[in-house]
């Protein structure tokens, strides 16, 4: 090994001796040996730099001071506190979205037709209502030649009533609701 040892390698040599190859280099290289000795001397100096020990009561005073200052701190917010506004907005959005999805679709023209199972036809298609309306308006006042409608209906036999109902029904094309 001809190149000088790197600073990293020199630290390894200083701390743990390094590899035999590195030691051989240090033994044969005056520059690296000098650097190593200087670092050793620096480490020896550093070991002499004790920190003066404070008085015995200092540590308790330090602890109390820290405790007092922490007690004076404003209450700490939860680490998730910043999410609260976001969560509130998200909740509102979700509620709105659910209400929109769950609501029946807006009425369309075809939806105005009653379903097949309905017992009542649409008002405009109900011929029976048209007839009753005519009676109310007097347009059909004489259709029974002077007899009242009530008397006419009351006088019908069961068969005649059924025949009247059948006659009032309007046949619709297949598939029409």
């Amino acid at each position: 090994m001809s190149a000088h040892l790197s600073d990293q390698t020199m630290t390894d040599v200083l701390e743990s001796g390094g590899s035999p190859i590195e030691w051989a280099h240090v033994a044969s290289c005056a520059a690296c040996r000098s650097r190593l000795e200087e670092a050793r001397a620096g480490r020896e100096l550093a070991s002499k730099a004790e920190v003066p020990e404070p008085p015995g009561l200092y540590w308790e005073a330090l602890r109390r001071n820290v405790s007092r200052r922490i007690a004076e701190e404003p209450p700490r917010r939860s680490r998730w506190a910043w999410l609260a506004p976001l969560a509130a907005v998200t909740a509102v959005v979700v509620v709105i979205a659910v209400s929109l999805v769950g609501r029946p679709p807006a009425p369309s023209e075809s939806a105005l037709l009653l379903p097949a199972w309905s017992a009542l036809p649409p008002v405009e298609d109900d011929d029976g209502l048209a007839m009753v309306g005519g009676l109310a308006d007097g347009e059909l006042a004489n259709w029974d030649e002077g007899r009242g409608l009530g008397a006419f209906v009351a006088g019908l036999s069961d068969e005649e009533s059924e025949a009247l109902v059948a006659a009032l029904r309007v046949e619709r094309p297949e598939g029409e609701l």
Partner: protein, 201 residues
């Protein structure tokens, strides 16, 4: 020399027992994260010596070290909710401590007082022995004049016995850089002290 890693010491300097185990400490930290001040008190007791000594080595006097130590614990309390346990708590706390010391020094002391990255050989006289306390103060003062990264590396590695990897975590560096900085720091410390003594290193 306070070379005993006091992360395993109790407040009175005695070796810690089960209470210093990682699991126990994790529970204390979780309690702190729930806002329990009494739990944080345990962490203060456990680490106050480490942080004080770290600050003292940076600031070189008791008053400043005391002030910054308290600031370090206040910052730790405010930020403990963000501690995720990816490193040791002591490493996280050291990082806060180093940053607090650097900020304090930056506010109090011009950077121009620092040594350039590589100290020139002053080429002066022979070494003399000094009294132990004087020598300690002299070396501490010399350490305080090392470039920031060298000083931080030397303090954490030599005086707090962190591993190279832990030092790298504290300083946001790499193991290789830590080793190189340590080597430079030791060499420069030797040169600084020698220059102060007016001797040729």
């Amino acid at each position: 020399m306070d070379t005993t890693p006091s992360s395993v010491l109790t407040a009175d300097g005695a070796p810690a027992e089960a209470s210093a185990a990682p699991d126990a400490e994790r529970q204390v930290i979780e309690a702190c994260q729930r806002g329990e001040r009494e739990a944080f008190d345990q962490l203060v007791v456990r680490y106050q010596r480490d942080i004080y000594r770290l600050c003292y080595r940076y600031l070189n006097n008791h008053e400043d070290a005391n002030d910054v130590t308290q600031e370090v614990f206040l910052k730790a309390w405010r930020g403990i909710g963000r501690f995720r346990g990816k490193s040791a708590f002591s490493t996280w706390l050291y990082r806060i401590g180093v940053n607090a010391c650097l900020n304090f020094r930056a506010a109090r002391r011009p950077v121009a007082h620092e040594l350039p990255e590589m100290l020139a050989d002053p080429g002066m006289g022979a070494a003399q022995r000094v009294e132990k306390a004087q020598r300690a103060a002299q070396v501490r003062e010399a350490v305080s004049r090392l470039p920031e990264k060298q000083r931080a590396t030397l303090i954490l590695k030599i005086y707090h016995e962190l591993t190279h990897r832990e030092v790298a975590q504290v300083l946001g560096s790499t193991v290789g850089t830590v080793k190189a900085n340590l080597f430079h720091a030791l060499g420069n410390l030797r040169k600084l002290v020698a220059a102060d003594e007016g001797v040729k290193p």
